[in-house]
Assembly symmetry: C2
Homo-oligomer: 655 residues x 2
């Protein structure tokens, strides 16, 4: 029956693309036998419990293969109707243009931008390894024990992010990860001869992977044997399956068939040769039932074992509090009423304060997990005494991502689907490197936190490549993304309070490298308003200065100086989160920033986005140029951002 | 004398870091023998003509090794004084924290963010290959014929961008590229065991490279032989040199010595063991002279050959116009008075129009060179009949970057130093992938152009991962970076006119996928003002709509509808470049956007940066949410960006 099922998956995919008027037939026809073999003969899933915690995961890294995936999920018996398939690529359908998690039953990961999927799957494999370790039963089995499968194409493997992630997967020996490589030597623009001549299997071998070559991508038995062998490997496995793009189409083997629907004539001959009746969306019910039966027979046994294991788990694990995060993620963390040992006027670098705070949090958030892209020593993002994650120490809570910011971002996305509270860290300037992965987090509503330190030209000597300018606005512009720039340790606590409550929004915590005193008047709980008055005017209000991060300290000094020198009454507003403040009530906003008063903004970053608060750009003390290498003070002067310049300009504008 | 020179390079580097109070001693002590051997025994340079076109290039990809580089350049005889070295990491010095091209004589590339250097060097190697081909003399030699050397560390090789670039270098068999890999098994956070266990040489072999292993990184002869062998290779070469980080320091072999200055005691014992007198900045003049002599002896011969070749070149190449770009880049291109065959109301996708225009430009800009990250078929950025660059066709003008956006960005940076006018292309949504490289272009003032198509939710069916939202503002926020979003083919011409004149500013040309008519009233030369009135109000002005790109067409229709239906007089302003408009005179700005009138903005992207033009956010028709998969019209509605919604809201706001 294999042949019939594969043929039907192919024609359903082709009909969907025809109906939608766009899509990617090449992978549908080329890779159908791969995905069929995987789902029918290996995937441990329960189509009636699509969120089953111990299901095998599948990531369609070649996200343009969505039609193939949906057709397969339909044939597998997930709750997708023919009607759903017919609505491929239409608004509010269950079958969007690229796979979107949360929309389609059976889709475990949103994909589309190449390379993201395979790197996220590495994150899933890390999470599975950890959970497998953490849920070990007395009988030696684990509550969580499953595989992570990926289907990827040449494009995924050309992307740097996949190399980064694969190198880490090799180092960590994630043998629960099996990548099926649809190797057809053709990409969007043509043959890969001109762009991609490397020996992929040898490359993966060098990175510590097991590799298997499948000569004939239409041979279900050969694919089946390869997956069987991969499942027994002590290393992650890459199975290179040689396929023909658009197999069976008149354009088979060409790049044209990659992303352009087949002509009517082509569909006709294809269906004829596949022995599928001509009418669109024909379903061979017997084939569908056979595929469902194969999945059910295997999956049901596994699902039964799960029930038994779950019972044992509940009996054996007495300290359930530490494990309930595996099943639900509804714990409320209240940092505002937690006692942190902080004293006003204590001076310390915010990155150090943040480290202390994170380490306190780790004490009662057992599922905190994350790491740094080889900058833990500088960002100070490290959970002391909680160990480093490695194949020898699956218990470790610190993941060493290496100098791989982009993979870090995608790996965090993958882990986050396992309800760990994940974080990553690097310099703010290098946040650019992981932006595409952060965007995926925002699209997929993953509550990941990123700690970006070294947050402005204030870092000084390392020079313009290390001095962020446009990064703050770039992050603020991402939909469904919170950016926090606290001014001291107390505000950091407020930020973490919000971050830990976030269920669907990623957050960036932007902190400086420099030593900063804790302010008398800062307030953790005010961070919930996004902005608040941190220094009230002494008398009748002359003007308001909005500042963020370390600039708040300068703003307060300017206010005090101008009061003492000129009896000018400035109000200072700390705005740790622009987005949150703009969501507060108009009344609150008016209370903090009343209309009719001159307002100024001080932030060591791009002016974009700040104009709305001020009369015109003269009132903005921001930076729209690259910095330079020098002491902090020298670079501030170089960028016209030094204390005296700002103070004098504010004074002149108030006159 | 090798030993003495290396010792002196080491102590100068260490003294610089001590004096500056920050820097990276690990690489100074570990890699000094490598860089010394390269400069003393191989680099063909002329320290008195640092911009010699045919010099060998050196890229310090491990940019934190700046002290090592500067000390070496000093000993090599470049115009760097001891005073310059003492000013390491201070403002306006010739010796900034990370290498910056244009500031330090002998520095060929700005580096710092890891991976960028090695990928840019691949671009240099591509440019060299092309020029070597293009400047071939009758005697078989070429005017341009040199090597590109890179020094990189573990961090560079963990970054995905280096894998992308190396894979392409292997495919293109760039045997003029030699990468020296300072392999010390230590990165910033610790030993690479936990992060990076792969076999780097095997990985590079799989990517088509020649690889050489140097066991002892202190053995000048062994390094020398490796480089000699690499120079004869038919493939690019990776030389893995095993070194000890911080060799000679008390902290040798640890990650602590990577980025932290040595203690006084440590410096003392180091100098003692290296037989260097204790006083800071000691220079062994004999050693310096010896190193200069080695370089001069070899370099002078090469420099002499260059003079001869140059004479032959001038005699042999009759059509000098086509080659003068090699020597100078001062040609003025006037597209505004060039006749393009365009008719108002012609409908065609802007990406098609752009292709025609670029192909016209290519006819008289002989040094136009670039390509796409495997999306040429979709972005339509392709120079017809000018061939594809490959090892068999060095004449080709189209570079196939593969699905490697980030490497594309860095490779363009490298090529741009050879005075080619380079361009790259992908979807706007994927501009995120190459952002770090575009930032380097802006910092280094490289006049590169990026053509980003599929510029909004208007692409429809591919869904949110492919629909840009925050990308426009992210690009606009980069200092020294021009963003163009033309509304039709005529404006595209105006954009290219400016792009071709740009000498120090990179540009992004943002165009849509959809079919768009050429407007009667659009004007190429008005692009030079950044914004202009494209549809004048019919009577007394009621309001002004600012729009960009395809939104200009909708704005014009709204104006016409509201005039016919309600006799409302709207002025429509097309703003293809926000940055350029904001640099025009206040008078011009007042003429286009007079104060005291209601203004609206329509742009299918983030609102950030637009607030300055309007009264409040109600007047902004922008998109701060992710799109969805559906038809263009459905997605517009989903994002409240459809024609009727905008028209109605404008009408209500005008009442």
């Amino acid at each position: 029956m294999d042949r019939e099922i594969i043929a039907n998956i192919k024609t359903l995919g082709i009909d969907m693309i025809k109906e939608a008027g766009s899509g990617h037939p090449g992978i549908v026809l080329g890779a159908a036998p791969i995905i069929y073999t995987l789902y029918a003969k290996h995937m441990n899933i329960n189509v009636n419990d699509e969120k089953w915690l111990n299901r095998d995961r599948f990531v369609m890294s070649a996200g343009h293969g969505s039609a193939l995936l949906y057709a397969t999920l339909f044939m597998a018996g997930y709750s997708l109707t023919l009607e759903d398939l017919k609505k491929f690529r239409t608004i509010h359908s269950k079958t969007p243009g690229h796979p979107e998690v949360g929309i389609t039953p059976g889709v475990d990961m949103s994909t589309g931008p190449l390379g993201q999927g395979i790197a996220s799957a590495v994150g899933m494999a890390i999470a599975e390894k950890k959970l497998e370790y953490e849920t070990k039963l007395k009988n030696g089995k684990s509550l969580i024990q499953h595989k992570v499968y990926v289907l990827c194409g040449d494009g995924d493997l050309m992307e740097g992010i996949s190399s980064e992630a694969a190198s880490l997967a090799g180092t960590l020996q994630l043998n629960n990860l099996i990548v099926l490589y649809d190797s057809n030597n053709v990409c969007l623009d043509g043959n890969t001869n001109i762009t991609f001549q490397e020996n992929v299997c040898e490359r993966f071998k060098a990175m510590g992977w097991n590799t298997i070559h499948v000569k004939n991508g239409n041979n279900v038995n050969e694919i089946d044997r390869a997956i069987q062998s991969a499942k027994r490997s002590a290393k992650p496995t890459l199975i290179e399956v040689k396929t023909i793009i658009g197999d069976g189409s008149l354009l088979a083997g060409t790049n044209i068939v990659h992303g352009k629907g087949l002509t009517d004539d082509d569909i006709k001959q294809l269906k004829f040769n596949l022995q599928i009746p001509q009418p669109a969306f024909y379903v061979n019910e017997q084939a569908k039932q056979d595929m469902q039966r194969q999945i059910y027979t295997r999956g049901n046994t596994k699902y039964g074992e799960w029930a038994t294991n779950y019972q044992m788990f509940m009996n054996e694990f007495s300290n359930k509090e530490n494990y309930e995060f595996i099943f639900k993620d509804d714990k409320q963390y209240d940092l505002l009423n937690y006692h942190f040992n902080l004293n006003a006027n204590d001076r310390e670098a915010m990155r150090i304060s943040n480290k202390k705070i994170m380490n306190e949090i780790a004490k009662y958030v057992p599922n905190l997990l994350g790491g740094s892209a080889d900058l833990a020593s500088a960002t100070n993002v490290y959970l002391e005494q909680l160990g480093d994650f490695s194949k020898e120490n699956l218990n470790g809570k610190n993941i060493w991502f290496g100098v791989r910011e982009h993979a870090m971002g995608a790996i965090l996305n993958g882990i986050s689907f396992y309800h760990y509270k994940v974080f990553g860290s690097t310099f703010l300037s290098f946040s650019d490197y992981l932006k595409p992965a952060m965007r995926m987090a925002a699209i997929m509503k993953r509550p990941i936190s990123y700690i970006f330190t070294h947050d402005s030209i204030g870092i000084g000597q390392d020079g313009p490549t290390h001095q962020p300018i446009e990064q703050l606005v770039s992050l603020r512009a991402i939909p469904n993304f919170n950016v926090f720039r606290p001014c001291d340790a107390k505000e950091i606590i407020g930020c973490w309070h919000i971050i830990l409550q976030s269920k669907e929004t990623p957050s960036a915590l932007i902190i400086s490298r420099n030593e900063t005193p804790i302010l008398e008047s800062s307030d953790a709980k005010e961070v919930l308003n996004g902005a608040y008055i941190i220094e009230k005017e002494q008398g009748e209000l002359d003007g308001i200065v909005i500042a963020t991060g370390t600039e708040v300290h300068n703003a307060i000094h300017i206010a005090r100086d101008l009061y003492h020198e000129k009896k000018i009454n400035l109000r200072i507003v700390s705005m740790p989160s622009r987005e949150i403040f703009l969501k507060t009530s108009p009344e609150y906003q008016e209370q903090i920033l009343p209309k009719g008063y001159k307002k100024f903004v001080i932030e060591a970053g791009s002016s974009l986005g700040w104009e709305k608060f001020v009369y015109n750009e003269k009132y903005l003390f921001t930076i729209d140029m690259f910095g330079a290498s020098g002491t902090k003070d020298d670079v501030y002067q170089y960028c016209h951002f030094d204390y005296e310049t700002i103070k004098t300009k504010i004074l002149n504008l108030l006159r």
